[in-house]
């Protein structure tokens, strides 16, 4: 444990991890309830495109070299989230095609940028699978800023977001600005994904949003508990994953996901043993009470 207090970069990583372990599962609850789990994968792949684009541009534009590629990743992720909404309208009969289309095109384009930038090296590997030594002070500042933003939005608009998550049509009828709320939410998600990337890696960010929620669905009895368990699972996965990755000298993203998976399977076993059904939010009409 001492190493984590002693070294700056490890301390940065731990603080970042704790922040992400909170925001990702909290947004994840909304995402899962809205049945958007796959969008997170698409957005994370677009973030890779953005990073690759940055690597490519910074070869010719020297202004960019000092900047963290994460910012370009954020811009791409936000733009991609808007594009997905558009594509859903094109494929009205096959809405679920929108996500694979964006995901595939994004990664294809990303790969082209990477090979143009001669970027098939150690750095890219860190972006793909995460690394605790890659977290800089700037990254920490970005994560802290976004966590604060997410917290403020959730405190201000919790009821509206919850209403939309459960019943979009009803929310629209009762005068909630669904369109701008959706936009706000998806941009928030894109930002969280882009900032989590340093620690867990692009390929693994989405698991931090879905696995804790999947585990929470197994044990929660109310919507409030779902938030609680998701955050608990998220935080313990991040912390145990980071520490074990450091001592075993393996990829931090991989260990975080394995820790989350372990918790998910334990939750499944627990539910089986106790004989309860999987929690189904909204069925008990608890939204009306809140």
């Amino acid at each position: 444990m001492e190493a984590f207090i002693q070294y700056d970069f490890l301390r940065n990583a731990v603080i970042t991890g704790v922040l992400i372990g909170f925001t990702a599962p909290v947004l994840g609850v909304f995402i899962v309830v809205r049945r958007l789990a796959l969008i997170t994968d698409a957005l994370s792949h677009i973030t890779l495109t953005g990073i690759a684009f940055h690597l490519f541009l910074s070869q010719t534009l020297s202004i960019l070299t000092g900047l963290s590629p994460v910012y370009m990743g954020m811009v791409f992720a936000a733009a991609g989230s808007l594009l997905i909404e558009k594509l859903r309208l094109v494929y009205t009969a096959y809405q679920e095609l929108a996500v694979p289309i964006i995901l595939s095109s994004a990664i294809g384009l990303g790969v082209i940028f990477i090979s143009l930038a001669d970027g098939f090296n150690q750095d890219l590997f860190q972006y793909l699978f995460g690394s605790i030594i890659a977290v800089s002070r700037d990254d920490l500042a970005a994560v802290a800023g976004i966590t604060a933003f997410v917290a403020v939005v959730l405190i201000l608009f919790y009821n509206q977001l919850l209403f939309i998550a459960f019943d979009e049509n009803q929310a629209r009828v009762s005068g909630i600005p669904v369109k701008s709320m959706n936009l706000l939410f998806i941009i928030m998600t894109a930002l969280v994904i882009a900032t989590s990337m340093q620690l867990v890696g692009i390929l693994l960010v989405s698991s931090l949003m879905t696995l804790p929620v999947a585990a929470a669905l197994q044990v929660a009895k109310s919507f409030r508990q779902m938030f609680m368990y998701s955050v608990i699972v998220g935080e313990s996965a991040v912390i145990s994953g980071m520490i074990s990755a450091f001592y075993l000298d393996v990829s931090s993203g991989g260990m975080i996901v394995l820790a989350a998976l372990f918790l998910l399977f334990s939750a499944m076993m627990y539910r089986r043993a106790s004989g309860r059904p999987v929690y189904h939010p909204g069925r008990q009409k608890e939204t009306a009470a809140e």
Partner: protein, 280 residues
């Protein structure tokens, strides 16, 4: 076959894949499970990294990573079905769970395996020049097997994709056909691995079908258009990647995405032309 140059090997492999992957893609699109391809490809990566890890640490066991990749992806496809039943009210959670599990495990395997990054990049993003004799053999075998299965069971597969309940009522053995689906998806993904790469297999499966959906007016046309678009994307991709020295998977997928973009742009234009013709 022994005298082929590496480029010829790559092109033969690419042609096989350009036929089978879009064909699979039309069925998956109609079945509304295109995303399965993406999850399974990530699980295949786990298998491949496990294969490389075993090959690197225990050299007395001869394993070709593509075969372990196939085994894992088959296991993953069966597991997804199980998870769908577990989360009956959140079925779409199954794919991300498997996807995350697959990629998480492979990240750990990769950092344990003594292999260099370049080999991983070949598997992740595809490289036409890395298709060796053993790989080509694997691709040809899987091409023939999947071709035969498609030929024998095409009617059943289509029926089940369009109307699961109707097919069950009319006496088609659902369990067998669903298993065949998983088996074929796993087969197609592991054969495409070396050329297009894990992260891009999903694209080759879903993009041609997405473009074909915009053009086709019957199911037969849908299948034909997907294959035509798939082959066109694969060929332009392989050739341009060779001449511009880009990652093969990337250029294949970008060609497919460009075709899709062109089709989407053409549609409103053609609709206007044809509606005018109808008025005349």
């Amino acid at each position: 076959m022994m005298e082929l140059t590496f480029l010829e090997r790559g092109i033969i492999a690419a042609l096989c894949i350009g036929l089978i992957a879009p064909l699979m893609g039309t069925l998956l699109a109609v079945r509304r499970s295109s995303i399965i391809a993406d999850s399974l490809s990530h699980v295949t990566l786990t298998g491949i990294s496990a294969g490389v890890l075993i090959g690197g640490t225990m050299q007395f066991i001869p394993v070709h990573p593509l075969y372990t990749g196939f085994a894992f992806s088959l296991a993953g496809s069966l597991f997804i079905e199980k998870l769908r039943q577990e989360y009956a009210s959140f079925q779409e959670l199954a794919a991300p769970i498997i996807l995350s599990a697959g990629i998480g495990l492979s990240a750990v395997f990769m950092s344990l395996a003594p292999s260099g990054q370049n080999e991983w990049y070949d598997y992740l993003f595809g490289s036409v020049v890395s298709v060796g004799k053993g790989d080509l053999l694997f691709i040809l075998i899987t091409f023939i097997v999947s071709g035969l299965l498609f030929g024998l069971f095409f009617k059943e597969l289509v029926f089940v994709s369009f109307d699961q309940e109707g097919a069950a009522v009319s006496g088609i053995k659902m369990k067998t056909i669903n298993f065949l689906f998983s088996f074929l998806t796993a087969l197609v993904i592991s054969m495409s691995m070396k050329v297009v790469g894990i992260l891009l297999v999903g694209a080759l499966i879903s993009l041609p079908a997405a473009a074909a959906l915009q053009l086709a007016s019957s199911f037969r046309a849908l299948v034909l258009w997907s294959i035509v678009i798939g082959e066109a994307a694969v060929l332009t991709g392989v050739i341009s990647s060779y001449h511009l020295s880009l990652a093969t998977g990337g250029s294949i997928v970008v060609s497919a995405a460009l075709i899709l973009g062109a089709v989407l742009a053409w549609k409103p234009v053609s609709a206007r032309i044809f509606s005018r013709r109808n008025q005349l």
